[in-house]
Subunit: 257 residues, 2 copies
DNA sequence: TGCTTTGCGAGAGCGGTGCTCTCTGTTGTG
DNA sequence: CACAACAGAGAGCACCGCTCTCGCAAAGCA
């Protein structure tokens, strides 16, 4: 990511810290650009998003926009981060609302909660967000634009959903509410090493469970992509019941029932 | 194109009576355009594919290209169909090579075949094709370009892989080599009607099996998309062993072992 | 055979894009 | 107050998809 873009992000972070008028105006205009770009993204898609159109809508000349975003790709990058965060926020909020006690930062003593119900709520929230924001979903889970290389900044927002799944499974596991998965194969070799990275995040969870969680993770987004991108037309369309059944069968696949 | 070449083409046309030289030349140039476009697609991606660049490489002026493809989207459409067909061909050929007897048009009496082995071979072939042709994969399984609406022409090539999965499962089923899936839920309501469309294609297959097959289908392409689009970087990358394990667990999920 | 219709490539042109560079005026700072 | 940093405007470059017109050659027809 470019230094100018990092500068923008830094400014927005400390926006209300009483900086100079110029910096304040810069942060504000920067947000406005993002907002207009997001709106255009929703209508014309990532491919059709144009800096000139954004600048036109803002009443400024296109070259001025480059003071804020050094290239179209940089603008897309912040939109990508925002999309990941919005999706993660939707998923985490669904977990909280369904009564999960493990949500980060909540820490309150748990009442009774149903792990399966939370699982279904999270998956449904992910799908609902994707259907409500198809272009933003396509931006982050569709084909990467050009030779686009995801900057390191996008990694952390991108893993919020799988991290939530890990947290849910761990809480259910420590409460003894997960089936044993005796018939699931234990990862070996390279696969075991890769899964070990996840085990470090959730001590105590069996590797075979985390491996299955990764499988379910890919299934979830494969299913949503198929629905949004039209691959289910003619068979499982509308996909509501298919999604629900798949979600529950995949929940059983990781031991939730 | 040179006049000498046109003359050659005309002579060959006279030998293959029926089509005029003009039609023959048109078909040939049309193929050449497709070929150049496919090569450019592989390097610059769908978004970067440009009619002007194609025409430049062919030594003609861009406006002439519109005699063959009325728009950029039309060119992309034939590339999409070709990609679907290439992928389907790769999958079917892998099934044949692994000794499957159900392949369309083969009809030969089967020797012994291992359904699970064929299953793994087909899935691996799909992944291998995707990795070898990432831009074409992204073209058909990534975000749909623009407000692109898939023409009816693309449907039939698009379902070759799932149809192959159905055929494999049916053959294994009639040979009594599929587990019973007693714990799998039977689809009801709308979902049962949707699955009924698949049952019509494969009489005798239990609806709950076909439902699971659809789940596995979405998992397969979700996994491949994640690998190609960079979502597995940092966890299951490289994805060879993850893919293999997932494939086999999903095979067990539909009763293959 | 000669005439007419059809198809094809070339060329110019329109409005759009991302991006760069220069110039002018303003704002913040020593 | 002077100087440096910065923001916006404008022109311009090289591309893009697409349209239109204009000759010319091939195909169809009398």
């Amino acid at each position: 990511m470019s230094r100018a873009l990092l500068s923008v992000l830094w400014h927005t972070e400390v926006m209300n810290a009483g900086r100079t008028a110029r910096e304040r105006a810069r942060a504000e205009l920067s947000d406005e650009i993002k907002s207009v770009a997001r709106r255009q993204l929703a209508t014309v898609g990532a491919e059709g998003l144009s800096l000139r159109a954004v600048s036109r809508e803002l009443g400024m000349v296109s070259s001025a926009l480059y003071r804020y975003f050094p290239s179209r790709d940089d603008l897309l990058t912040v939109l990508i981060i925002d999309a990941y965060d919005a999706l993660g926020e939707a998923a985490e909020s669904a977990a909280e609302k369904s009564g999960a006690s493990f949500a980060v930062g909540k820490g309150e003593a748990a009442g009774a909660w149903d792990p399966l119900q939370t699982w279904v709520a999270v998956f449904s929230a992910v799908r609902a967000w994707a259907r409500a924001n198809p272009q933003e979903y396509a931006l982050i889970y569709g084909s990467p634009v050009l030779g686009y290389q995801a900057p390191q900044t996008t990694v952390q927002p991108a893993i919020r959903v799988p991290l939530l799944m890990v947290a849910l499974l761990q809480q259910a596991h420590t409460e003894g509410r997960l089936a044993a998965l005796e018939d699931a194969p234990e990862p070996t070799g390279v696969l075991a090493e890769q899964v070990a990275v996840l085990v470090a995040l959730a001590p105590g969870l069996p590797p075979r469970l985390l491996l299955r969680m990764m499988i379910v993770w890919t299934q979830l987004f494969g299913m949503i992509s198929f629905e949004l991108f039209g691959q289910l037309v003619g068979s499982m369309d509308p996909a509501d019941e298919f999604f629900d059944s798949a979600t529950r069968q995949m929940a059983a696949f990781v031991g939730l029932s």
